[in-house]
Symmetry: C2
Subunit: 216 residues, 2 copies
DNA sequence: CTGGATCCCTCACGATACTG
DNA sequence: CAGTATCGTGAGGGATCCAG
């Protein structure tokens, strides 16, 4: 093989040979949340050419980072899911995301949000310590940013994240670009409500709890 | 610019735009140990074309990951060094190196060791807890793998790593390819001494201490 | 000698169209 | 839905050359 090797005996070099190609880590990011089909990945990554997605999936499967699985019954569907080895990248992706977020400039006109990137972002800024010391647990939020929807649940200090709606959230938070200001602390919850940056359905006092739970 | 953007509002995407290009993270790995000149980097990365090294250094400087500095006196030399922002990647690089090292196969004929990759590897498998609870502190090792030499010092539970020799090491460890077996625990210190995988200069009992301190 | 710049070639990537 | 086929472009690889 010897394809595109860096020629060094080094764990980092090896890691980059496995997941350092363009788009690879973003594919893995999307698979961290849940196994996905080709078309789901294509949609979540928007600008990825299908041949590149094909190539990456083959390479990552061969490397043992993910596996291709054929769903048995009703529908003959193919899904890609991380192996245990691939799942070990989760924490690293969160760290790298936090690092990159520090230099995130204003969004360009063509830049998009995706459910999986928002889910990763919320996990990255989750402040829970696993002790369940928070005041209002268990609590569930539905978060709507532009046209994407994810659900967050905090129970026993553990954060659960899922795409789409969950039944009976304690608080629904609808927001737009100003959402970042809330999480970074540049805008207080009361300010956010007053100037219309967020629209709430549920107990408004929970927004303060939310802003304390998720903070960069 | 907008060149090579992933088109997503996401910390991870941003991180990959900054340091996801080929060779970028290896350049940063080498700069973690110490500021370096163009030629030092070129040597540590062996297979990197000079134009690519040039391009990466410019991009990373523009991104605020590293800075170019001109040494004032005796020699007019240019060095590249990480900014505080770039230095934040240190822990992530260690994690990623540990992850990749798990799937590191047998070295190819043209694969090389470099001082910086060995230094990173030793930092990655350092088991100290910062408490200085170890038995033999302070202790210093000189590690020779093939033709590269690095120095390790453990004091107050803190690991210090440097390229080249330091005066009066407590133990000099000369080894070859079998070194990995010692650190992974596949070979015990006494075995390693018996079958000639390592040659020691100094107190041989310190090899057990070494094997406990550095373990993958 | 360091610190690059320049040239050329190849292949990976990007965009789009198309198929089982 | 899950990819493959085709083709243009530009980044990476490799060698050489040049200024201070």
């Amino acid at each position: 093989m010897a394809r595109r090797s860096y020629g060094q005996i080094c764990g980092l070099s090896r890691a980059l040979e496995l997941v350092g190609e363009r788009w690879a880590l973003l594919i893995i990011r999307d698979l961290v949340a849940s196994p996905k089909r080709f078309t789901d990945l294509r949609q979540g990554l928007a600008r990825i050419p299908t041949n590149v997605l094909s190539a990456r999936l083959k390479e990552l499967e061969q490397s043992g980072v993910l596996q291709r699985r054929i769903l048995p019954r009703p529908a003959t569907a193919v899904v890609y899911e991380l192996t245990p080895y691939g799942r070990q990248l989760d924490g690293i992706l969160l760290d790298l995301g936090r690092w990159g977020a520090q230099s995130l400039g204003p969004p360009g006109p063509d830049d998009i949000y995706t459910p999986d990137s928002l889910m990763m972002a919320m996990r990255a800024c989750y402040q829970g310590d696993g002790t369940g010391a928070s005041v209002a647990e268990p609590v569930s939020y539905e978060l709507r940013v532009h046209d994407i929807v994810i659900s967050l649940t905090v129970r026993n200090g553990q954060l659960g994240v899922a795409g789409g709606s969950l039944p009976d959230p304690d608080l629904v938070i609808e927001t737009g670009p100003g959402f970042a200001a809330l999480v970074t602390g540049r805008m207080s919850p009361s300010e956010a409500i007053e100037n219309g940056s967020v629209r709430l359905t549920g107990d408004p006092r929970l927004l303060t709890e939310f802003a304390n739970t998720f903070r960069i």
